[in-house]
């Protein structure tokens, strides 16, 4: 499960005003009538870190994510992808053609 900071897309060092701004922006883009579950997640995240005391509580009582995903997320983070030029596109198209692709085209269930 994403952390409250990740849900609100704010830094761990964000202050009350920054967190409130991020919350209002997200609520505007995700009103409850559009996606109730997402809205609730945003609201819960805001409640969890909206002020200093709640942030201390959150930091105290949230079990850190010790899964390998934390490492992988950090290690494989990249700023931006390399633009896909014609050469890369051709490589992608070629790499996509394998026996599986061919067989998929004639699988009776999919025909």
């Amino acid at each position: 499960m994403d952390s409250a900071y990740k849900i609100l897309d704010v830094a761990m060092t964000a202050d009350d005003a920054e967190i409130k701004l991020a919350y209002l922006r997200l609520v505007k883009d995700n009103p409850p009538d559009r996606d109730q579950q997402k809205f609730q997640a945003i609201h819960a995240a805001y409640s969890a870190i909206k002020d200093h005391k709640s942030r201390v509580t959150y930091a105290l009582f949230t079990l850190p994510d010790m899964s390998a995903d934390t490492l992988i997320d950090r290690a494989l983070a990249t700023e931006k992808n390399i633009p896909i030029n014609t050469d890369l596109l051709t490589q992608l198209l070629s790499a996509s053609v394998d026996d599986a692709t061919l067989l998929k085209a004639i699988t009776p269930a999919e025909k």
Binding site: K53, V56, T57, L60, F61, T62, L63, P64, M66, A68, D69, T70, L71, I72, D73, R74, A75, L76, A77, T78, E79, K80, N81, I82, P83, I84, N85, T86, L88, L89, T90, Q91, L92, L93, S94, A95, S96, V97, D98, D99, A100, T101, L102, L103, K104, A105, I106, T107, P108, E110, K111
Partner: protein
Amino acid sequence: MNKKIIADAITPESLEKQAQEKLENGKYKEVGELYKKLLQLSANEQWNKPLAYCYVQRAVALAEKGMIKDAVVLWENHCQYTQAPFDIYDQYIIWLILSENKVDIQKNLQQLSAQQLDKDYPELASLLGLLALTKSPEIINDLPQESAFVAHFHLIQTGLQAYANEDEAKLTEILKKIPYRSAFRDLRSLLQALLVLPSSESQARALLVKISTSSAYASVARLLEITLLQGAALFDALLRLNQSQRSIICHIKGFNKQQSEFLEHLTRQHEHLSDKVKFNMAIQYQSLLGPDVAQNYCQQLLSVYPAGHKDFQKFFGASDEYEESRVSALLHEREDNIYDAEYYWRLCIKALQNQDDPGNALKIAMILRHLSQGEEPAEQIELLIESLQYDAEDHDIYLQILDFYQQSEATKDYQQWLAKTLEKFPQDIDVLTRAVRESAANKSYKKASHYATKILTIDPLNSFAKQTLFASHLAYAHQLIREKSYHLVDKEIKQAEALNIGKAYVKQTQLMRGFFCFAHEDKEQGLQLIADAFTQLYTDPVNRQFHASKEALSMGLPVATVLRVLPSAKDHLLSVSEFAQFLQLLEQFTLESDNEEQLHKALENIKAALEKSLTEQEYAESDLLSLCKLLETLQHFELLRHCAKLAFDKWQKPIWMYYRIYADNNAKPEDCSFRELMSLQQHHEQAVQNKDFQAGILLEKLLARYYQVHPQRTKGFLERLFAMGDDEQEGLDPMEELFAHVPDSVLMGLNETIESLAKTTTIEQAEEDLMQIVGHDQNIMLAIMQNPDLFSALMVVKSADQLGIDIEVSVQDVLDCFGVGKKTRSFSF
């Protein structure tokens, strides 16, 4: 002879029948053999078709198993028995492509018509398009040049050139020319996605999703989607790709050397990612992760991988004891191991106390409050109070502490904490409201007025404060009149009037003015004002008389004089609404008054009318319940008895039995008769069965008080009878004398029957049964009712009689033993 039978059996008809049966079961190879035999017997052309069908089915089955070359041979065999257009010709061509038979591929592609390519075989066309663009550009020359396929292929080529030249407009224009039914329509979506990708990943995703999973372009669409993933999700997707696909994606993601090494390492280890592996990876790749992230990650892992302490020390220095304990505590909590969790939280507190950080006090307070959540109320409050040493600003904690002391009726503690809270939060309306309530409850009207005034300076519209202030002014005016300090009364009434909180309150100040006038200024005019005010306040004489009595008594004025100007209440029957008004008034006085005697006297004046109304009118059960609760508070047993009896006769519910017995014994359940005790028990059980918890609790309280005074009655029936385990019961016990000779096993059986009888027999039935036994001798009946042991002994005899057990004890023996009655008749059940 056998040979003859077999020869007779192999007829074309029987073979065909067999073939059809096997065909239905999908045994195509055997069916094929049978049709071949049939064709040997006779060149019947109608057998060619099923034979060809069998070849095709077998070819498909083999292709599904990956035996492509065999599939090709079988499909080609089927051609001998049928004519073009051949079944699944498109699949056959794909099998040829898979088997890389270039000669046959070319031959068959050259045989494809434009119709077949553009309309009949869309999947084959899509695949050929992809092949022509990638691995086999030469195939385009073998395909019908007049087909739309070839025309679209050239368009796409121009489009790709435009893409290479970053000529977006041209590419967009070309893509518009590719129709929906084109073999290149999915490539069109792919290129559109590439065009929007730099500006909007979500739009690109939406376009890629449109490509069906069965499309020849599904794989490339998936590869493009993977390039949009990050971190762990990207890694999971990469694991499912082949090496060449993975290296293209890594290239597009722009992974550096370290990232590639990490990925490779992770790919090797991903199925065995133990805490140790994760810990070591975090250390190994700390420059990639960032030293802080690596250190934090390893620090958190120490709780589950304590063997890492040495390496941690080597790479990062001393570990953080607090963080390690915190993670351990949370891990134990996750396992519902509260005991160990608390141990680690205490270690956290110790570690925080040893650190010189001003922010730690709040953390300690939060931990203590967290710990309090799993505790019993008393321990919970201790922890909350302790937490205030570290964070004294949490208003909610003060309120929680106040709530606890209020609920546990610890008045002294409540008052102490209320004072502390008031000192800490002098402007807090919640706290001030509590202060008003507490002062009003203690009849400290000045204090209540002071706090209420304070509330009104913060919140001028606060109705609770206004009402309190109003009530305080009037209560103080009452006191002043009683003390004959008349010069201050007018000021209090004026202050109450100035609050201006509604018409109902104006009537009350008018009434107060009437009493003030009567007491101090002009008796006649005062009486007139009082009569007028009561006329406005109530439509019935009962409420007027009651209210007037109470007011006069509380101000020390002559009640009879005041009541004389009001109409008599004697014969008035309270309507439902008047009764409700009376209940409201009684409740108000009960809450406000510190003098129950005055209320009793005021009730005395209307008692007759009230009893008559209760007897003759139909009030709601809930209203009668409210009345009983108030009368219980006031300890007015006479009215309570009257009301409860009427209600019990109507509704026969446990709660009414509670009030009956409570009133009959003047709130002393220990004085209950045995019959009443049985009744209490029976109705308590009924309340529990009916889930009437309120009545259940009240009845339980009465029973508890009864058993507190009569502890011997708490035992089981027979234990009680023989006082089993009590060694102080020595000497002449009639029970011992009567039943000592009965074996224990028999007594146990009797015990069950008696318990069952006690549950199923009503008091009235028991009484009836006893009368049948002992006759209508009131003295004996009285003795039975007064002596529970005598009753119990008779029950044992009755049970034995019911079970047909001869215990050699008769009813007369029991009566004799207890020294009651000298009946000569034989008593038998």
